[in-house]
Amino acid sequence: MSTPFSRVPALGLLLLAACAPTASNPPANSPTEPTPHVVTDPAVTGAALRVEPVIDGSSVTVRLVAQQLGHVFGLSYHLRYDATRLELEAPSADAQPGVLGPDAFMVLRPGAGDVALGGTRRDPRQGEAEIADGTTLATLRFRVLQARSARLDVERVMVRRADGAFTTVGVQGALLEEVRP
């Protein structure tokens, strides 16, 4: 049974853990062979775009996940990465599932260190698409070029409703630690 004194630091640790970046692949204790892992940025509340990378050897699969976007007419965002450390593999045809409807115009433009993503429905008279919480907006694969850490960030996010209104959207990026070619 805890004493009143012992409960305070325990609570403090719990709060700290909730705010701190989360590691999906906790580092091993071995000092000689660090394990590749992902450190995600602190979670954001409300509408957001999240980067969810999974490291698989020298490859990294990055899912871009919608969080509470709700009804969307069109959206635009960029995935930024360090092109000296990561190389984008040619996106597959289904890299962006049809979350905005089957006839939406979708954009996926790879660039050096920047992938422009998003899409739009064709006409406001079509209304909006409802994007469920946790929907994968895009999946991209990268090859690791250098054995170093590498950040993945979502930037320049714009989400619009059919009446032109803007949806305020947060972002949650991630850090790839100890990845190796």
Binding site: F73, G74, L75, S76, Y77, H78, F105, M106, V107, R109, A116, L117, G118, G119, T120, R121, R122, D123, P124, R125, E155, R156, V157, M158, R160, A162, G164, F166, T168
Partner: protein, 582 residues
């Protein structure tokens, strides 16, 4: 809304006529119960200097004339015998001397043969528009501002509603013989009178300040219900902006087919073509607002310089209409109206002909309406932006006060008084010259040494204009930054320091200028220097926009988003933009 075309035609005659006589009062009695129109007009004249004669439009009906009881004969004007008559006084009037001219007219007006705008008189409807060359039914000054007071007494069949003079009838008397006698006053000095009588349905606004008269189907009735309510809502808006309308009742009067105009507004009396209530009801709200605006611009204030009439009466009525509608319905409504006017001027002039709104010969130009109405109304929006809304409003309000003079000079003077701004160069470049600035624009963002980013705005402006271009920059966190850049002709570069690179840059999003904005980078409609999904979203949001074929139709057309320049914003533009992304 008077014919300024005639203004120009008879300018010389006007000058001669005004020196001789000032008409101060007209008392009109009309009997519209029969096939013939019977009009009795008593005109009070005061001589200015020595006066031997009075020039007037030639009465359309057979007319007997006397002056203070002495019969006289009207003679054709030597230069314009078909249009004008000369009344020679039995004895010349001396300076200040008064006389009563009596016109007794009786006949069947040939409304159909003398011009479709002139009149209607049949079993169901009588419409007499402002007296003029087509239908002279009382004295009207030959186009200088010669205002008078008036009374109009109308004997009409029971069952017809009658509107004349200004405001509600002073009295309506049942004569016991299936006729009624309606009496109206015109207590605000005017230079125009109208008469309307029709067996029509009467619809009143919720506050009983506006009365509509119509004959029509359910759609027309629903639209008239909207129209009277809107007019009632507009009255306090206009009143607060400029001056309370000095009439106690406003009338919206539907006119039968054959009157090929949308609307005509005279101090609270608004004539509306029947199609506005039915097949063309997209014109309803803007038409009511515009024509009601003429109560201030064209009635309470009248342009004193003929070649300024189109700009100062039509341009200001249109400017005021969208300003008032914007106050009632939101700024987007105002922006759509201003855009509609600017777009119509920029892209729908036949063969790209153009004329300066204040060109002395504008009335003879085939594109007079494009410049004097559509461009000029947008230019007043520009002036508001330059001067500031409050100061510009005070200047306009001053011009509508009793005794004020409406001219470009007085407008410039009032603006200088209320704001300290000299509008002269603006009047010169926007209203005394043709054209508009065509702007090619892009931005680049780069990290700033002091934190944040430096946004470089590159503007290439063609056309001899120097103007302030409003910019609206939306940052990733939702913050919207409002900036302005002073744009000269040719290429200019401007640097803005912002917390972050903008996602979306909009140049003059509220359409405060007659201008055409194009991106430097093809399909970069967000003007951020690159093409991405944001550009496609912006285009798609405007899908369906098209350059209208019809005047005063808002096609929601903004040429910025018409990427392929085919006058329609649609999937083809999205395809071109998508190709540009790749």
């Amino acid at each position: 809304m008077k014919s300024t075309l005639l203004t120009m035609t008879f300018l010389l005659v006007t000058a001669l006529a005004h020196a001789g006589a000032d008409v101060t009062q007209q008392d009109i009695t009309a009997d519209i119960t029969g096939t013939a129109l019977v009009l009795d007009v008593q005109i009070q004249v005061q001589s200015v200097g020595d006066t031997t004669s009075l020039v007037m439009f030639r009465p359309t009906l057979p007319t007997e004339v006397d002056v203070d009881g002495t019969a006289v004969t009207l003679t054709p004007h030597p230069e314009y015998p078909a249009q004008l008559s000369v009344l020679t006084f039995p004895t010349p009037l001396t300076d200040g001397q008064e006389a009563t001219v009596h016109l007794a007219m009786n006949g069947v007006p040939a409304c159909g043969s003398v011009g479709s705008l002139a009149c209607l008189h049949n079993a169901t409807e009588t419409v007499l528009l402002p007296s003029g060359v087509d239908m002279a039914w009382h004295y009207t000054g030959l186009f200088d501002v010669d205002t008078f007071l008036a009374s109009v007494t109308v004997k009409a069949p029971t069952g017809k509603h009658v509107v004349a003079g200004q405001g509600a009838p002073a009295s309506v008397v049942d004569n016991g013989d299936d006729t009624r006698t309606w009496t109206f006053q015109a207590a605000v000095p005017t230079e125009s009178l109208t008469l309307y009588a029709r067996a029509a349905d009467e619809m009143r606004s919720p506050g009983n300040k506006v009365v509509g008269y119509l004959v029509g189907n359910t759609r027309a009735h629903e639209n008239m219900t909207r129209a009277v309510s809107l007019a009632e809502d507009l009255l306090p808006v206009y009143g607060a902006l400029f001056r309370e309308l000095p009439v106690d009742e406003v009338h919206l009067m539907m006119v039968s087919p054959g009157f090929p105009f949308g609307g005509m507004g005279l101090l609270g009396n608004i004539f509306m073509g029947d199609y506005i209530l039915d097949t063309h009801d997209y014109l309803l709200e803007q038409g009511v607002a515009h024509e009601l605006g003429h109560s201030w611009w064209g009635n309470l204030a009248r342009a004193v310089v003929p070649e300024e009439g189109l700009v100062l009466q039509e341009g200001l009525a249109e400017y005021s209409a969208w300003r008032a509608l914007g106050q009632l319905q939101g700024d987007d409504v105002r922006t759509s109206g201003v855009r509609m006017n600017a777009v119509w001027y920029m892209f729908r002039r036949p063969q790209n002909r153009d004329v300066a709104p204040l060109d002395p010969d504008i009335q003879s130009s085939s594109v007079a309406i494009f410049a004097g109405y559509h461009k000029a109304s947008t230019v007043f929006r520009t002036f508001e932006e330059i001067v500031g809304e409050e100061a510009f409003t005070r200047a306009l309000s001053a011009l509508t006060q009793p005794g004020a003079t409406l001219s470009i000079t007085s407008l410039v003077d009032e603006v200088a008084r209320t704001s300290g701004t000299d509008l002269t160069p603006e009047v010169d470049q926007w209203l005394r010259h043709t054209g508009y600035p065509a702007v090619v624009l892009t931005t680049h963002s780069a990290p700033s040494a002091t934190g944040g980013v430096d946004v470089t705005v590159e503007v290439d402006s063609r056309g001899a204009f120097t103007f302030t271009l409003p910019l609206e920059l939306r940052l990733p966190d939702g913050t919207v930054i409002h900036e302005t850049v002073l744009v000269p002709e040719d290429i200019s570069t401007h640097t803005l320091h912002l917390p972050a690179a903008p996602l979306l840059v909009q140049a003059d999003p509220r359409w405060t200028l007659v201008r055409d904005v194009d991106p430097l980078v093809f399909a970069d409609v967000t003007l951020d220097g690159a093409v991405d999904a944001a550009d496609l979203v912006e285009i798609a949001l405007r899908s369906g926009g098209h350059l209208p074929e019809t005047r005063r139709e808002d096609g929601r057309y903004d040429p910025l988003y018409d990427v392929n320049e085919d006058e329609t914003i649609d999937e083809l533009d999205l395809e071109d933009a998508l190709a540009a992304v790749r």
